[in-house]
Symmetry: C2
Subunit: 346 residues, 2 copies
């Protein structure tokens, strides 16, 4: 399961009734935040969530409404006694910007680690998340993010039985572990074979082939090696959330919104006749955002709009035309949440 | 009249129900802000006030809860199309800190001017305000502020009549202007005499003395010079607000709180038994703050407590013992306002 919370929906400046746009993802006890404007830590507190389990913060770009809340959040994480390192992801210049902001938060009980993006497309694995960053088109360098939770294939118990794999190894194989068993039938431990992938490769290089019993012949004579692919089916559809803000509509957005469970997209202006203004300020109208969702192949399952202009008081008033273009579009609102579940997940 | 608004009352971190401690003063169309933590601009917006007329921002010190809201506020002031320069006052290092924060607000349509404090006591005139800064005792360099609105003496119309000062000059004399009149009775303009103070000094240096007509004999032969002191009484009691936060109790605080119309003072902890904790963190309990007010001579007219620990939920519960020490003590709360008026002001 992936918990999604749109902490705020405002652009430009925080308002008494609207926090700045920011997204929190929660999965397997590790939280990932995208953007952190002024007040984001308060929005988090309003949900009664601690900032302590935030392991990764991704920044789309360095305009203040997307990063001015960072020093306060870091201090609050420190006060919550976080000691594990925090990974920050963002455009080139990230370390310079964050270190400047840290002038007012110089002492923290945890380390900051920086991943600076420079390519048009980048891919980062931060378990349980796979983070894909893609460059969009704003006044300054700006990235969109597609965050995925991959899902392994199904465990094939019948096959495991057929191959004679001892029951006590099933759970470890499901977790992706490779198991080497000594000549006496003892598990010689993962140290003997390294990671699953390496073990399989070694097995092949060493001319290993399936025995009648179904186990790989190991690198060391007399050992049996059980690998996950022996009992796990093809990887299944995972979960994916795509987050895009502060950009003109560009095709790469549709590409990364494709097949997303949730596509969160900026809509600075509700009124379709504000397209000229959107163009001038390098933002989008609701209609432009909806067209991006409609063009994605396959289309995202739903879209939430966000990053409203302070002058846009009632986004829901402009949804009619949007839904003609992309029916599963909804106006984002502060603290809007979704619990995304894998297909057939309880 | 001096409008006072305690925009927030929190210490350490902003909370959903409590903004960070910050004070807004409004007088004669010019606003002065003390401290600007994360969310201060939202607190301002909640009052439906524009940040545009803020001409001066004073910082007590550079901990994030007192200055992290600055970049956002500056951008919002820019969006409100402020073009007049903004003066920032704060401890040494101010320009370095603010310029670092401005990494995310690099382009503003107005200039920033810096006044860095280094002395134990400093005095700055920023009309209509007189700003007195005094060093307190925190973990980092920290200043308290006493902000005064001076009040001129009363205009003595009988005396002006007696001195034969033409009626058309009365209003200008009341405003503090010095008026030079040529031999033909024409006002030769302020350019002829410079500022009032200089003119009077010049008059004296040049051996000027009162004529029978009552006007000073000017620097230039044949000119008459009318100065405000000829018709204005002694300066009257003005207005004064003293603001102190993030410090242990030190005598200089009572000194500057003396005779204040309003003394706003930190009380991080309500529980008197938290004095050891207050000492450790270089903060104060309510009782310690009350003692500072009680020791001031003359005592301030009232005191508001602020800068509460996030763990302090109901400050009003601890006011009993405080009022035994200083009866006119009140727990500050977000958006608490006062309209301070001069004595006998309508």
């Amino acid at each position: 399961m992936l918990d999604v919370c749109l902490l705020g929906t405002g652009g430009m400046m925080p308002l008494p009734y609207r926090w700045l746009t920011s997204l929190l993802l929660r999965c397997d006890g590790s939280n990932l935040l995208i953007d952190c404007g002024e007040g984001t830590q308060i929005a988090l507190k309003e949900k009664a969530w601690s900032p302590k389990p935030i392991d990764t913060i991704c920044f789309t770009h360095f305009h203040a409404d997307h990063c001015s809340g960072l020093p306060g959040l870091l201090l609050t994480m420190g006060n919550a006694e976080r000691t594990e390192p925090l990974t920050l992801v963002g455009p080139k210049g990230l370390e310079r910007v964050v270190e400047a902001l840290r002038t007012i938060a110089p002492e923290l009980p945890f380390d900051l680690r920086y991943i600076e993006l420079s390519g048009v497309r980048e891919r980062i694995e931060r378990k349980p998340y796979v983070i894909e960053a893609f460059r969009v088109n704003h006044r300054v360098t700006c990235y969109g993010y597609a965050i995925s939770i991959p899902r392994k294939g199904r465990f094939d118990a019948a096959r495991a039985k057929e191959l004679g794999i001892p029951l006590q190894f099933w759970n470890r194989l499901q977790k992706g572990e490779t198991i080497a068993v000594g000549a006496e039938g003892d598990d010689v431990g993962p140290g003997a074979v390294g990671t699953g992938i390496v073990a399989r490769r070694r097995g092949k290089t060493d001319g290993g082939e399936k025995t009648d019993g179904g186990a790989h012949s190991g690198a060391t004579a007399g050992h049996m090696i059980y690998t996950p692919d022996m009992v796990m089916g093809e990887a299944r559809r995972g979960l994916k959330v795509t987050y895009v803000t502060d950009t003109r509509p560009v095709p790469i957005i549709s590409e990364y919104a494709a097949d997303a469970d949730l596509f969160i997209c900026e809509g600075m202006y509700g009124e379709p006749d504000k397209e000229a203004k959107a163009r001038e300020h390098m933002h989008m109208t609701f209609v432009e955002a909806a067209k991006l969702a409609a063009r994605a192949k396959p289309q995202p399952r739903q879209m939430w709009l966000t990053h409203y202009s302070p002058s846009l008081l009632h986004p829901e008033e402009f949804m009619g035309q949007v839904r003609e273009i992309f029916p599963r579009a909804y106006p984002g609102k502060d603290a809007k949440t979704a619990e995304l579940r894998f297909e057939d997940e309880e």
